[in-house]
């Protein structure tokens, strides 16, 4: 009595095994070309073919190749279209590919240094003249000239087109004096011009006039690295052989988005990555205790606040006593010490600690339930007022959800009626900035390069967090246009004091910025300014 044919039973697992192995063998390899330029054929995921480099080489760089792999915590939201995004991940990445007119290698914004510009002079209150290097070429081989600076600065500043950088720039017209000299003019004096130029990549004018799809997919800079392969989550770069300074010391630089912090940690500990981004507080001790890896941290120029959306929560917009009650309802110190595990410092101003002209405000907002209840009484809301939503995103800012829940719990103790809504970053951003959003407060951060103009811009009338406070908007504008350093310091002192008094938003803390790196990786430049992370002088010495 035969029920089944035995050949079938033996065959199917074998077929599956063969199929699996064939698929495994046919899967895309991890090799990249290092010989051709970035404008190779695009198969949709990568570019170029030719001589190969094993991008999965162990971190000690077996053989002569030095392949450095950096795992990012933030998604690559944007494409390569110049000045189209303020996404921090994109700005940090672009610093490997592009150059800037000036440099602040120490992060101190009072110490500008030459970069693409060899020298500069302030001609008058609204005009600056820059002399350019004459030995710089773009990755496509075209020489850098004044025309490129004109096209770049005019577009970035919003003078000649739409730019996401216009939020912190002033529209700037650029006059070409000769092939290597430009004059940048603004309608009004523009104090942070050097700080802005430090974050404005210089792009080829010819490239800017090209096809939009090419602009979005292929960067053409003068920086130390050029883009070799570009996939959704992995950006592979190789040295720019024609760089005007010493070439980079490493052979391949890989920036890769890896969402899960535990996976990033595993990769570092196992030696499959040389540097990992935004180490969460709970991983600090592990890295400290482990041999062969270390922490590289700075106090970030990033404010983490509960940002309040104007118009969503009328009592907030109208009643200063209610805002004061909220600000006095919870204790920031324990949040920082226990939940964020010391990887931050309590906000002492609406400008982050390392911002130029930072001034700690007094008195600090500390938990004072009695004072908070009194403020609620004064606001005419002894019952705590209306219900409101605090939105918080999982998976980006460290320990965000426990922080929001702890704040809400303390708020409830004095009678306030918050509800914590947990989302991902995308959902939070959408709710915060769309007309149909329901949230009142959003646990978010804002980072800058260290100039107070950038740090304060988010509170200006050009941004969604603006409550119609004309005094504040006027001070922000005044800070931009005041050239004298002492006078500018006075403006920002007044601005910070005014913001603290009005408390349009709920200040929380300033995040630390901590990388985990392999001990044999040297020369990585990490600065709090915009979370700068440069691998130009990095090398592996294992």
């Amino acid at each position: 009595m035969r029920h089944v044919r035995s050949t079938g039973m033996r065959g199917w697992p074998a077929c599956l095994a063969v199929l699996a192995l064939v698929l495994a063998a046919c899967s895309p390899g991890d090799t990249v070309d290092t010989t051709t330029t970035t404008s190779g054929e695009d198969d949709g995921t990568t570019t170029t073919v030719g001589e190969t480099t094993d991008t999965t080489a162990p971190p000690d760089g077996e053989g002569d190749e030095q392949v450095v792999r950096f795992l990012m915590a933030e998604n690559f939201w944007a494409d390569w279209t110049p000045y189209s995004s303020t996404a921090l991940s994109q700005k940090r990445l672009e610093r490997q590919i592009y150059d800037y007119l000036v440099e602040f290698s120490t992060g101190d914004l009072s110490q500008p240094e030459p970069s693409l510009a060899t020298e500069w002079t302030q001609v008058d209150d609204t005009t600056w003249e820059f002399s350019l290097r004459d030995d710089v070429v773009f990755h496509d081989g075209q020489p850098l000239t004044a025309a490129d600076v004109k096209a770049s600065v005019e577009l970035a500043s919003g003078f000649s087109g739409t730019s996401a950088y216009a939020l912190t720039w002033a529209p700037a017209e650029v006059e070409i004096v000769d092939d290597y000299t430009v004059r940048i003019s603004t309608e009004e004096p523009f104090a942070p011009i050097l700080a802005e130029l430090w974050w404005t990549p210089i792009v080829s004018a010819e490239w800017l006039q090209g096809d939009a799809a090419d602009l979005a997919s292929t960067p053409n800079g003068t920086g130390p690295f050029r883009l070799l392969e570009d996939s959704v989550n992995v950006k592979t770069m190789v040295p720019n052989e024609t760089y005007w300074q010493e070439p980079p010391l490493i052979d391949v630089l890989i920036w890769e988005f890896v969402q899960d912090p535990q996976t990033r940690l595993n990769a570092l500990l196992s030696g499959q990555a040389h540097a990992i981004d935004r180490v969460p507080p709970e991983h600090l001790e592990t890295i400290e205790d482990e041999e062969g890896v270390e922490l590289l941290g700075v106090t970030g120029i990033e404010s983490v606040n509960l940002y309040v959306r104007p118009g969503r929560f009328p009592i907030w917009d109208e009643n200063a006593d209610f805002r004061r009650a909220v600000n006095l309802s919870f204790d920031r110190g324990p949040l920082v010490d226990n939940l964020v595990m010391g990887s931050a410092s309590v906000a002492g101003s609406f400008l982050p600690t390392n911002t130029m002209f930072y001034q700690e405000q007094s008195p600090p907002f500390t938990a004072s339930p009695d004072a908070a209840r009194a403020a609620l009484e004064a606001a005419g809301l002894p019952d705590g007022g209306p219900e409101f939503e605090i939105w918080v995103a999982e998976g980006f800012l460290p320990r965000a959800v426990p922080v929001a829940e702890a704040i809400a719990a303390q708020m409830r103790e004095i009678g306030l009626k918050p509800t914590v809504v947990t989302s991902d970053v995308a959902g939070l951003i959408d709710d915060a900035f769309s007309e149909t959003g329901t949230g009142a407060m959003y646990h978010l951060s804002w980072a800058s390069a260290g100039d107070p103009n950038q740090a304060a811009a988010v509170y200006s009338s050009a941004f969604a967090w603006y409550f119609g406070d004309e005094v504040l908007d006027g001070l922000i504008a005044q800070g931009r246009t005041t050239l004298d350093s002492a006078e500018r310091a006075a403006v920002y002192a007044e601005l910070q004091s005014h913001m603290w008094e009005q408390a349009w938003h709920v200040p929380l803390y300033n995040s630390d910025f901590t990388l985990g790196i392999s001990s044999d990786l040297e020369g990585v430049l990490v600065q709090p300014n915009g979370f700068r992370t440069d691998f130009y002088r990095a090398s592996l010495n294992g």
Binding site: W12, A17, L21, P28, T45, A213, N233, L269, S270, Q272
Partner: protein, 309 residues
């Protein structure tokens, strides 16, 4: 009759895929997170957001977006990623073999374990070996895959440095993710296999074979394995969906360049075309493999063909 059955099955497959496409399309649009807003800096004026919507095609009505999506998919065009200008087809079909190889090896190893463990347990039900197999199944089933994956990495990658912690870089990189998936998949297969063997071995024809003097191993290997494997095939077919879904977690932890990780990463930026393309291809793979499992089942068990006829 066979032609009619095939036609019905094919129609069912198309309907399942269409349902998956529709559900994913609707859920993505219902969930918060406007991709146009995410592509621009926070606070960007609404007219710029509107321009972005126009560029990526989310400015038209939902109905029109749906029709465009289905029509493009029918023509084999899965669109372009919202992030950059990358082709969804290229990204998905680059990732697909990586997921399938992971799933395929997992199935082969899990099925082998199931047959061996099930057979060993069924030979003496209730005895020590049987109990050991049941304990294995219980422990493996109760172990969360994400926890197991992290523990395996910490022990075998970080401490011992035997296997890579992340990436797909060669045969050694399969060991930990496959182990994680095998320990998740094998318990149900082991239980099924054990039960089938126990039932099969108590059948009259098995007793008759034994009474005719056939060696015990031959009765077991030829008659027992054949019959007991039929339910296993069904379960494997059904569990394929679990494997593809479970691979999302495993792929994220091991940074495995498969469809699961592609979808998960795309979700963060609401990259609708990439998510839809990834889910669509995974759904097609699932229904096609299940179709072949059904066909295989009919080939292996004539009673199925008779019943369908």
């Amino acid at each position: 009759m066979r032609g009619k059955y095939l036609l019905i099955r094919l129609t069912q497959m198309v309907l399942v895929v269409l349902a998956v496409m529709t559900i994913v399309f609707v859920v993505l649009r219902v969930a918060t997170g406007d991709p146009a807003r995410l592509a621009n800096p926070p606070g960007t004026p609404e007219d710029i957001i509107a321009q972005t919507r126009e560029r990526i095609g989310t400015d038209v009505s939902l109905g029109m977006q749906y029709v465009n999506y289905v029509w493009d998919a029918v023509r084999g065009n899965l669109g372009t990623s919202f992030r950059g200008s990358q082709s969804v087809s290229s990204a998905v079909f680059s990732a697909l073999p990586n997921t399938l190889s992971l799933a395929g090896i997992t199935i082969v190893i899990s099925a082998t374990i199931a047959v061996v463990f099930g057979a060993l347990a069924a030979r003496r039900p209730g005895r020590l070996l049987d109990r050991a197999v049941l304990v294995y199944a219980a422990i493996a089933q109760a172990t969360p895959a994400f926890w197991l994956a992290v523990v395996l990495v910490l022990v075998f990658s970080v401490r011992l440095r035997w296997f890579p912690a992340i990436d797909m870089t060669g045969w050694r990189s399969f060991v930990l993710p496959v182990t994680t998936l095998v320990l998740s998949l094998s318990p149900i297969l082991v239980r099924t296999s054990r039960q089938s063997f126990i039932e099969t071995l108590s059948e009259d024809y098995i007793k008759a074979a034994r009474s005719r003097g056939l060696p015990s191993w031959r009765v077991f290997a030829v008659h027992g394995v054949k019959a007991a494997s039929l339910p296993l095939i069904t379960i494997i077919g059904l569990q394929l969906g679990y494997l593809l879904a479970g691979a999302v977690v495993v792929e994220a932890i091991f940074n495995w360049p498969g469809i699961g990780k592609l979808i998960l990463d795309s979700l963060a930026s609401r990259d609708f075309p990439m998510i839809q393309g990834g889910v669509l291809v995974a759904a097609v793979v699932f229904v096609v493999i299940n179709f072949f499992v059904d066909m295989l089942y009919a080939v292996l068990d004539p009673r199925v063909r008779v019943a369908r006829a």
